[in-house]
Symmetry: D2
Subunit: 353 residues, 4 copies
Amino acid sequence: MSGNTFGKLYKLTTFGESHGEALGGIIDGCPAGIELDFEAIRKDMQRRKPGQSAIVTQRKEEDEVQFLSGIFEGKTTGTPIGFIIPNTNQKSNDYSEIKDTYRPSHADYVYEKKYGIRDYRGGGRSSARETASRVVAGAIAKQIISNIKITAFVSSVGEIFIDKPYQDLDFSKIENNAVRCPDEATALKMENFIKEIKKQGDTVGGTIMCVIQNVPIGLGEPVFDKLHADLGKAMLSINAVKGFEFGSGFCGAKMKGSEHNDLYNVDGTTKTNLSGGIQGGISNGMDIYFRIAFKPVATLIQKQEVLTNSHEIIELQGKGRHDPCVVPRAVPIVEAMAALVIADNFLLNKVYT
Amino acid sequence: MSGNTFGKLYKLTTFGESHGEALGGIIDGCPAGIELDFEAIRKDMQRRKPGQSAIVTQRKEEDEVQFLSGIFEGKTTGTPIGFIIPNTNQKSNDYSEIKDTYRPSHADYVYEKKYGIRDYRGGGRSSARETASRVVAGAIAKQIISNIKITAFVSSVGEIFIDKPYQDLDFSKIENNAVRCPDEATALKMENFIKEIKKQGDTVGGTIMCVIQNVPIGLGEPVFDKLHADLGKAMLSINAVKGFEFGSGFCGAKMKGSEHNDLYNVDGTTKTNLSGGIQGGISNGMDIYFRIAFKPVATLIQKQEVLTNSHEIIELQGKGRHDPCVVPRAVPIVEAMAALVIADNFLLNKVYT
Amino acid sequence: MSGNTFGKLYKLTTFGESHGEALGGIIDGCPAGIELDFEAIRKDMQRRKPGQSAIVTQRKEEDEVQFLSGIFEGKTTGTPIGFIIPNTNQKSNDYSEIKDTYRPSHADYVYEKKYGIRDYRGGGRSSARETASRVVAGAIAKQIISNIKITAFVSSVGEIFIDKPYQDLDFSKIENNAVRCPDEATALKMENFIKEIKKQGDTVGGTIMCVIQNVPIGLGEPVFDKLHADLGKAMLSINAVKGFEFGSGFCGAKMKGSEHNDLYNVDGTTKTNLSGGIQGGISNGMDIYFRIAFKPVATLIQKQEVLTNSHEIIELQGKGRHDPCVVPRAVPIVEAMAALVIADNFLLNKVYT
Amino acid sequence: MSGNTFGKLYKLTTFGESHGEALGGIIDGCPAGIELDFEAIRKDMQRRKPGQSAIVTQRKEEDEVQFLSGIFEGKTTGTPIGFIIPNTNQKSNDYSEIKDTYRPSHADYVYEKKYGIRDYRGGGRSSARETASRVVAGAIAKQIISNIKITAFVSSVGEIFIDKPYQDLDFSKIENNAVRCPDEATALKMENFIKEIKKQGDTVGGTIMCVIQNVPIGLGEPVFDKLHADLGKAMLSINAVKGFEFGSGFCGAKMKGSEHNDLYNVDGTTKTNLSGGIQGGISNGMDIYFRIAFKPVATLIQKQEVLTNSHEIIELQGKGRHDPCVVPRAVPIVEAMAALVIADNFLLNKVYT
């Protein structure tokens, strides 16, 4: 109820602050008998972890997951999968400067107001480090729905965007560059721009697109738990996300019905796919695709005004190793959250068939 | 689990098809002792109902709610509030044409595939008529959080949009025109455009903006149940919605951190509000505002290709009385869903204080 | 969360007071395509309703259920089944006597303390009339698990009890007498005793036994949601229940392990069944059986001390038409709650297979 | 949904097998600002752990809990409390004998049938070792409701029982003997009997009584989530439990209403308390008390028939270090589960007041 659990049947509960001993989670509801591909899990963890390229934060965190239960002789047993990810980087920093201040557009202020207490070391529970647990659970979820292909990539950074429909992109190129953009020319521009921004001690926002292919017809529940409502909530629960649109999205709001309707082929597929693979909240077998907006990271390596808990405004010099742009590292998180939603709805759909 | 319940503590469960005897719902978790303003409930129902102006569907539906329990001598008793809304308009139409066909961008096809059976009269459960129950529950939710002001209005129809920040609008003018747009000049353009579209037997999409004012600090849970994630899911569960953005939204993804950060005033308010009143998933006391994209209604009063269940494509002439543009009638629905989310999080926050 | 919903996948939410216009509920999660046997539903309703024999309350209530949604051409559609049961007997009694008093061992006092308000007409929400909705949902649940046989019967009234194992009873005789006891000689004694008690204006407690046969192996979840824990909660949620035991129950607490262990046959069945068909919270395919204790009804047709809301003790003469013994009418309620639990766990088990 | 989570607002999710690296859990929904008494947590852990006296299993397990999050400078922060309890005793035993057999009245057989796979080392997830996590969460729950006193004790072992009402017992003596029975003479008899039973390689059942004092009026929800239904489910979810009764319990089923009704004092307390502190599912401020039946432990240190997975019956000599009687060590577990239920309902009640 305090919102640290996600999912209905495949349920992930997470715990952990960025500066405690470890963070981790429990996956409850994973079917038994899945032979886990641990390398695939490790790979998704690597894609999320800090320090992997020149355009992301240079913090060193190993992000090794230790599974404590629910797996026997390499297979899931149907019992809960407990796991921890030790925080190897929790040095006893000097937090005296941060302790009594609220940084702009951070959660410091609201945490202290809501809870009356705040773990001021790092971002506490609002640190994006929490998403490491999501990537673990998502990587396992992908193995439940191994026929379904989930692909996320960076579609824009600042004003730079891919000017092509996703069908014209070669997804195999996503991991070829540090930005995780499949269009090489655009990727290069993005990378240079992020480096520039970083030099300025500034940050920049971006968007991620996600495409889910080979989805069976019938996933999603028709009223409050429409498949895209579940996906939207999943994406909006990722740090820094400001918007979600699927199919025609905000563009669809400008269109006429005669332009927007997806006409059928005789086999039940549709000629166009402005619906984005979901009709009435239920998957129709076409590609599901959506786009997510990420705001620029709030931590700047610049002087900035902050509020103190004695209600003064002072200037503070931002420091540390932070991402100048969050989207490259958010790609595996988006995939993980999509996998959680699809696996959950896949399991739920088995109940009624 | 089949997704007909919304909320954690203030819970709405709905039932009902457009062509059954009645639809309705149960509100569980409404606090006791609230002296209900039935006129306010009726008014919100009236704003949603068909036939209220020339630019919405001319169907006649009375949409009178009958409360069956949970209220005694005008006050809530803390027990579940059961209610029904009789379907007065369920004439025994001839459905032989629709029965065996799947209309483009409707839920007909996926319902039949998912459930193996379909109530082909009207839209069944996917009819927007289901939202009448949401408006009832939302109108009561508003009375739980009576200090908080929730205002929704039409911000665009097709390519026509309000070209001002919401702070420059006079919300008292929203109900003065059939479109529910507070900017009178824009409203007139929208109304004329919708009439034009209607003449063509076509439909058009639009956007709604919603502003929530006077929200206490601390609503929302920090990880999966971020306040904006709950709001996003609520909005995405409304029929025809294709996108949701709050605060800076998709524009924020183009900005730099130095532009985007909301600097503090000494009293904890912020000078700008690109955060949209929510930081780290928790309300910060500033206005919460968001924008929702609605696609054009799929039912056209034109000839259109449909798929038959014997896998043929045939042409069918659309008929009946449908909305040429859904956004004017969706305004009270958006408010209702916002009220459900805010009341729910308001009650939840009482647990921990 | 206010506890008016039961179940995880096959979910029943109920509403309604004994003296409102109607009570009813919503069943969410019923699989599509079940051809409903309405006569079976009516029959279970008849078994629960007042006035059916000389030893139960002589109130006249028709208890006709009206289904409002989720059913099309006699079959479930997979959408929520809304239903109401009109209160035909809600005459405008004179409640002035009850209004300001708290009857002993009723919920009057705690309701007023908890909610600050009380619907003093009849028992309000704590009236056993609420169980009518459970019988509707249970009767449909039985049709989901039609291979599984659920049989409840009265096993004792006061000190009179059946002195045989259930295997020696002929379940076809349960409905042959007003007490719903399959042992005819014992039934006669019980019936006479209840008539005696009734003459005295007094009431008496009793027990019900329930046997569930032909359960597939594997229902139930191993830790907090053990199958017998779900059954126990279901039974303890019925009005007037004070205890629940399954298998060897409280007798098992006196036994030695060498006596209590159920040895296997080669086919996996067991020679004895002190486990009661459940091991480690999971059904093992043997009969599930349990026993439930009901206290005597608190409403007496005698003079009795009551507390007033001005904190005086006064004498009040009980009146009205009440059950002298609740167990005969509770038999279909026990079956209904058992059916809800088994159907729910049956659906849940489909997820992981 | 797989049932590894308990509670509505104060939620415990557990993971871990007896023979993995560690077990543990996540507590979500613990209010912020509680200064934790770690010594009290340790003490409850010690009461549960093996090897504490001559009449319990002589396994050596340290049962040290490590908190990983949610606590800062000794206080809860309102974020999830993750914790692990390393399994220090997981020696690489020879399981070849057990691997292919199903022991009578164990969960071996049903696990293999349900999941198609079984972690045969120890009891896997059905091991009572899982309850260590419950004791951690219960010990913290007690600190949320520190005004409420929860006391459990052994009320019977085999045929030996305390022949006094709980009001005549001195609870301060419970921890004075290895059985945890406050009546010293009875305790001695129980202890000797357990030693005898142990010598025989046999086991014996028993009962535990629990008394909850100083409960505020108004806890519990009236219909499906009656306070005693929540307590019953909690107790029935503990390994080896076969029955639950509260207040007059099964005895109440033999009584007349005129004997059973609890008459009021002018202050709203009652002269008797056959209701067991709960009326209509809601606490009335009187003592809540209930009794729980535990079957004898199924693991015997004797020769016993077992089933093999090639469908043969063979004889196997039980070995290892097991409890001859489970109730002494179950006392803190009963208290923990009671604390979870009461704390959860205490928090829930804050929502509506």
